[in-house]
Point group: C2
Chain length 364, copies 2
């Protein structure tokens, strides 16, 4: 303590903080009590199973972010409320969540980001097993990558969404940062760089500029790239910080991806209908007659209603009748009148139509 | 929604929750503002470097746990406040913390448990490097295992505490749960179980009862046990859930350790004197003349003052003069009058004496 004045000032501030903490403590517990009352009302009304309402949680988060006066930033505030809601929920019964393991992966980070520390996360070994686990009721929800630009497991998720009666209940976005890593060898002495082919494409400019003469060895995943670099004294890897940490590698250059806004997207799947929040997305899959211009024609109702498509992806159909199916993501909830009308039109026109889910946009 | 009554009840509860959230939002930000004022007072008084005061943080946590009315349990409350303080601190400057990596280990869990999500954690590859990194000022604090009953890296920590001028600023306790895991093979068909020798000792009763005829293969760590089991279709391992998750193994039996209160202890090291909180510990190392009964005689002042020793461990001295050094942990702070008097006596009697640190007990 530098002097008396300082000590006095600090003591006064700390008394204020202590008083604030008492109030916080009371409010946090009152909030938990109210959450328990919500659960009791639902139980009394015969609702069984999970008390988690993704739309309500998204609303709460959107609300506190919008109203946050600072100085805490809105992401931090949303994160604290997420954890508080997760803890409140765990007082009733912790949510069980199956995710594509192993632990330490992006999917685990996504699951934790979405469900908080109060949930019980279980890694399972494959995307099909995530679906099976949730379908069998062994987990309340599942988390799977869907636009995983780096691990290449998207198609399995799409195929299973098509096959399973489960619904998409939410999405999670994670920023992806690529790094040049090695067990010790500096870039100047590097003879090989292990890299996943999609990652390679995402770091093309950096590689051309900084490692034009280094051999690029393609591997199946970013985790494998890190693993190979660990075993090769003259080799580096492009990998995520998580994988580098996992395998004890040094980060030689961080954030070397060409597009700094590179994100990976995950879906939350479960057996739950999610109500509108005002900031929603809808995912569906459909097929049309196999003739020129048919897709364009099929999508006309969306364009006419001014509904944004945030994503479209075609996949070869695996059975009969049509050659391709199209996975679409739209802005808006399937119960929003404009969306509902457009979807009804789409459904009429399409030879195949399945609503995969309608759910809140990722809040943080 | 089952009926109108339920809907009305829920809507009312949710309005109450929204109002509470507004109050929480305001209080959280007022707390952050006060924390920034604390930092300004310190800065004005010429205090540089870290604004983190472990004794103050421990007091806050002890306080909210003691006053917590529920229904949230005290650990959850302490955890939320830990995260809030971590976020407040990060508004000034995030703490940087070096820990014994790789990521996904107990030490990372311990670092996160102690410093919260607002801190910047960096894995380094060895215990010596944690000390070097903190000593060089490249990290504010370091986290190292000290009584790691399962990974066997304790001695290095003790030796470096002896050699470095850094102080022990805190401790973290983590419960250790052992599990029988495998890549798929059930216990009935298991031919081998990979196990760390200390883990084996901790699971002796369970192994004798459930796997009396399975070969036990000793390996160097729990992580290696998991790794070997992954590669051996007829092999299982005893390992932590974290390692099982990391390597995508199934947990066949959880919590098979003989002592359910088995914990691992970590120390926080840094260049910081920590003030008393009322629930403290003191770590020191000393040596006595090498003659029979000398240790007993040396420790008399502690016994006389009624000070509990929570741990004593002898280590061969690595240089001159004496043969053994003794690492002691005591209850109480070095500035508590009774402790201070006993330590002064100890110091006089001992041929070597070094106060390693005096710091708050682990709160959660």
């Amino acid at each position: 303590m530098a002097n008396k004045e300082e000590a006095k000032g600090l003591a006064a501030l700390r008394r204020q903080i202590d008083q604030l903490d008492d109030q916080l403590l009371e409010l946090l517990n009152r909030r938990a009590t109210l959450a328990m009352e919500v659960a009791q009302v639902k139980q009394a009304a015969g609702e069984n199973g999970t008390f988690w309402r993704p739309e309500r949680e998204a609303e709460v988060l959107q609300r506190v972010m919008a109203r946050n006066p600072g100085p805490l930033d809105s992401e931090t505030v949303a994160w604290l409320f997420r954890e508080l809601m997760s803890a409140c929920l765990a007082l009733e019964r912790p949510l069980t969540v199956a995710y594509l393991g192993p632990a330490g992966t992006f999917t685990q980070m996504a699951a934790t980001k979405h469900f908080g520390q109060g949930a019980r996360l279980t890694p399972v070994s494959s995307i099909p097993e995530v679906f099976r686990t949730v379908q069998a009721g062994q987990a309340d929800f599942g988390v799977v990558p869907v636009e995983n630009s780096t691990e290449g497991s998207v198609n399995l998720t799409l195929d299973h969404l098509l096959d399973y009666p489960l619904k998409v209940c939410g999405e999670v976005q994670l920023r992806v940062v690529h790094n040049l890593v090695s067990a010790g060898v500096p870039l100047a002495d590097m003879q090989r760089i292990y890299v996943h082919y999609q990652t390679r494409a995402q770091c093309r400019h950096w590689l051309a500029e900084h490692a034009p003469r280094v051999q690029l060895v393609e591997v199946a995943s970013n985790a494998e790239a890190a693993l190979r670099a660990r075993e090769d004294a003259a080799g580096g890897a492009i990998s995520t910080a998580a994988a580098a940490e996992l395998y004890g590698l040094r980060i030689l250059a961080a954030g070397i991806e060409d597009d700094a806004e590179n994100t990976t997207r995950f879906l939350v799947i479960g057996d739950l209908d999610v109500q509108p929040t005002g900031r929603d997305k809808t995912s569906l899959v459909l097929s049309s007659h196999n003739r020129p211009g048919s897709l364009h024609e099929l999508l006309r109702p969306l364009a006419a209603a001014g509904i944004s498509m945030t994503r479209i992806e075609s996949r070869p159909a695996r059975r009969g009748l049509w050659q391709y199916v199209f996975f679409l993501d739209l802005e808006g909830h399937a119960k929003d009148p404009a969306v509902a009308a457009a979807l009804a039109e789409l459904q009429e026109k399409a030879t195949f139509y399945k609503l995969l889910g309608t759910y809140p946009k990722a809040v943080i």
